[in-house]
Symmetry: C2
Subunit: 287 residues, 2 copies
């Protein structure tokens, strides 16, 4: 079965799915996007993703290409045509196609692209044994809270992590505190057992998995503290982990080559991964 | 006559010039670009643009799609097919098309797009009377010295300038100093007659017009000082101006609504614009 992509009202063979060379997404990174996990044919926390999408579009003053009901229909049709039961949906909305000029063009329709792919996610080994991260300066623009395709610094940092044999790079602000990963939120469990992640201000993307997990913490009897934490705190933490739509909750067992805790996934992250998988499975079952 | 664009080895009608939805230029801003002025069929300071392009590609570790001689042939063919004598050439090189994943893909050919357009440049009135700028915080990523398409903060600032009735936004760093404009370099002439522009470190793009003008200053008997300057210094300056491939040398006569000097283009900027036009005309005549 060949892959199908949605582009501006048409369902096209993936190979022929294209945008114009003067699409502002291509020339200016003038676009927002979302990645939504799919499990048991359900789009996990779809409404939270749509809410965040509208926030990004609002901040960028890009018009929504259609109403949410229509968007949701397109998402389902893309999943159906690609026969995706477990995987991920990708959607990108750019300001549209216009002769190259910095200011917003007038009377231009936004570009909507929706694609889907089968499950990738972390390897069983990564879930069981945890992964390593490196720390790098956060050199991104100052609005990473907007989920834009302005991702060049993110991918350069991810490439550095890969070359260092690490799974992810945790980005560090000018004060020495971790902001987040290149495509995930960063968490630690302190010696006192508090679960700490940075507050969702303009310095990080407010992850949908982050939000989902926050909703589960109280039920697990865990105390959440939203505040910046330093690289030294990561090194001294009892446990650490990352969250993302693709990885859910993934243990982090080393930072810059130094073991965190005893170097193995701890009890808190194991519980939280299980709890989050329950949160996901419930949505898949309800489908 | 219909416009023609070059895309990956093919000369296509502009309307059909497209890139894949999984081109990394569209999904990640993973691309470098150049805009080269064309006058009298000559590509102005083409070799300096190519040198900077190679620097950008090197910093991003994107392979050049072909050698310089071939690139130059493509440029000329695009100008010829579009019958451009006075205008601008746009070229963009992305890391290529690959399934969406942050790290660099292996064995993928870079995408090359080349387009051309007729002359726009500033209006005669703008050259004669000067333009206004506003100042805004520089919220870009920390490597604007790389000419990448990571331009979202630039266009948001340019849009703010436009809505404020200004021609350009001058971006201000955390120390209160001007870095540069959203698509131009920033200059002042001090009360002492020194011509000041920020040094080309990683905080600004080293403009080709900037470099060309620097080469002309000594001949004009003017002293160049490369250093940061504050917004207060702009307000107290005798003259101010901006440089870019599209605008050459353009007088700036107000900042945040306050007149600079007597509010009219001064003698230094007039001389420099003339000198730069001579530099351009010489290349057109040599063609």
């Amino acid at each position: 079965m060949s892959r199908i992509a949605y582009v501006n009202g048409r369902y096209l063979p993936h190979k022929r799915a294209s945008v114009h060379v003067e699409d502002r997404g291509f020339q200016f990174a003038d676009a927002a996007y979302e990645v939504i996990a799919v499990r048991g044919s359900a789009l996990i926390d779809e409404d939270l993703h749509l809410k965040r999408l509208h926030r990004s579009l609002g901040e960028l003053r890009i018009a929504a290409p259609m109403g949410d009901a229509s968007l949701k229909s397109v998402f389902r049709e893309v999943l159906r045509r690609n026969a995706i039961v477990d995987g991920a949906l990708y959607l990108q909305i750019s300001r549209g196609q216009a002769p190259r000029d910095f200011p917003f063009p007038q009377g231009v329709a936004p570009t909507l692209v929706v694609t889907a792919q089968r499950k990738r996610g972390p390897l069983a080994k990564q879930v069981e044994e945890g992964v390593g991260v490196i720390t790098l300066p956060d050199i991104r623009w100052r609005r990473p809270d907007i989920k834009s395709v302005s991702l060049l610094p993110n991918l350069l940092a991810k490439q550095q992590a890969k070359e260092a044999g690490a799974f992810e790079a945790w980005l560090v602000d000018r004060d020495g505190n971790v902001t987040e990963g290149t495509s995930s939120n960063a968490w630690i469990v302190t010696a006192a057992g508090e679960v700490v992640t940075r507050q969702a201000d303009t310095s990080i993307l407010n992850g949908i998995t982050r939000l989902g997990l926050i909703g589960l913490l109280a039920r697990e009897g865990l105390k959440l503290v939203e505040r910046p934490f330093s690289v030294a705190e990561v090194k001294a933490a009892r446990e650490a982990f990352l969250t993302s739509s693709n990885n859910f909750v993934l243990p982090v067992v080393s930072v810059d080559g130094a073991a965190i805790g005893n170097g193995y996934p701890g009890s808190v992250v194991r519980r939280l991964r299980q709890a989050y998988e329950g949160h996901v499975a419930a949505q898949g079952a309800a489908q």
